[in-house]
């Protein structure tokens, strides 16, 4: 799903090309970053982007309901309260096209690893149109319950297998993408390095989110997208305004500008 995330990250820039405008899903992508690094916001932006393509619904899996929708569009809503969506649309100038996209994002909240596995194993029993994008937020919460690397591998493999099944249902030329967000721990805690290494087997593309500290009251991140040998690496600056709104700009490429401290992100960022 690297290409969908690349399109999301390029939305705030003028760096869009005809190639990036295609509906090509790209390889499964692992979105990594520490707590509060914007993973959920980017996942949701990818959900809206895919929902807007009109190819099929988007399935968003997370352990617990989002308390507020990430404010990529300048509003915070409870996705379960459609009435609030309608009111906000009428009275607050909420972008109508984003409202329509929200309705195409199906949220499911498997509360445990057992429930998540059951959901994935039974995905082929579901009726209705196959999703065009499968998203999972908070993979680390489901891995905590597991016994070892084979369990983590099975969960990762099942996610891929489920997306592959959905792709088979949608037919050639379309496919179902997969993006999974994994929270990495702070530097010095090496326990998750083996886990990240194992997951990287199954997710050829990765996007690392690393916090920068430009000044008080500002929250800025460096997003580094590595499509796994299928394209060039690229970087963006993801900033969050005080009202929570997310803005994305290309990362400055001149020497002497903000440099990436490769050692500050745990999990072996390349």
């Amino acid at each position: 799903m690297a290409e969908t995330l690349r399109r999301v990250l390029n939305l705030g820039t003028s760096a869009r090309s005809g190639v990036e405008d295609t509906a090509e899903a790209g390889p499964p992508l692992l979105l990594l970053g520490g707590p509060g690094s914007g993973k959920t916001a980017l996942l949701f932006a990818a959900a809206l982007e895919a929902a807007g393509e009109g190819r099929g619904p988007v399935l968003f899996l997370t352990r617990r309901p989002l308390q507020s929708l990430p404010r990529g569009t300048g509003a915070a809503l409870d996705p379960l309260r459609l009435q609030e969506v309608r009111l906000r649309t009428l009275w607050a100038g909420f972008p109508w096209k984003d409202c329509l996209r929200y309705l195409k994002v199906r949220f499911q909240y498997p509360p445990s690893t057992h429930e998540l596995l059951q959901l994935l194993c039974s995905a082929h029993e579901a009726r209705g149109p196959a999703p065009s994008l499968l998203l999972l937020d908070g993979l680390e919460e489901y891995l905590v319950e597991d016994q070892g690397p084979q369990d983590a591998a099975y969960l990762a493999a099942l996610l891929l297998d489920t997306a592959a099944h959905f792709s088979h249902q949608t037919g050639p030329g379309q496919g179902c993408g997969l993006i999974v967000a994994l929270q990495t721990q702070e530097e010095g805690v090496s326990g998750d390095a083996l886990q990240v290494s194992l997951l990287q087997r199954y997710f050829p593309a990765q996007c690392w989110l690393q916090a920068e500290t430009p000044g008080p009251g500002q929250h800025r991140l460096r997003a580094c997208l590595d499509p796994g040998g299928l394209g060039p690496r690229a970087e963006w600056c993801v900033a969050f305004r005080p009202n929570g709104e997310m803005t994305i700009t290309p990362w400055p490429t001149q020497a002497g500008n903000l440099s990436l401290d490769k050692g500050s992100s745990s999990g072996g960022q390349p």
Partner: protein
């Protein structure tokens, strides 16, 4: 080959070997000796063990009306292992140790046997209901619990 691709794809040399083996089997109904030699060179003892599993027709492709599929391999110990069809996963201990933990091996013998059974066309076919396929996939996790 980048390790990050190891869960999804085979190295190009292995892909080419399997492709040539498939063409040779189609033409001559057997795998040429030179292909077997190369297979043993790449995969070591696992190659012999995988070929033995193929000879004994130990690989079954299980599918349901939904189109979703999974492989099951009857191991030499009599235990059945589940291999996913879309990426590299096998429920056997050797996959957990040699492939995942040590990265000594690209595939376990069961996954290699799956690939070889596709080449030789000796995979058994079993059709089950959608619910039964769910149970087969989910049973993998329940066995470990």
């Amino acid at each position: 080959m980048a390790a990050a691709l190891a869960g999804l794809t085979l190295p190009a040399v292995v892909e080419e070997l399997l492709s040539e083996m498939a063409a040779a089997v189609q033409e001559n109904a057997r795998i040429p000796d030179e292909h077997l030699s190369l297979l043993k060179f790449i995969f070591g003892p696992s190659a012999i063990q995988a070929l033995d599993l193929v000879d004994r027709q130990s690989i079954t492709l299980i599918s349901s009306p939904s189109g979703r599929r999974v492989y099951q391999v009857l191991g030499s110990s009599g235990k059945t292992y589940t291999c996913l069809a879309s990426c590299h996963y096998c429920s056997c201990p050797a996959f957990a140790f040699s492939v995942l933990r040590k990265s000594d091996s690209l595939l376990c013998k069961h996954l290699l046997a799956v690939y070889l059974s596709q080449v030789t066309g000796t995979c058994r076919q079993l059709k089950v209901s959608d619910k039964q396929l769910t149970d087969i996939l989910f049973a993998e996790k329940k066995q470990k619990a």
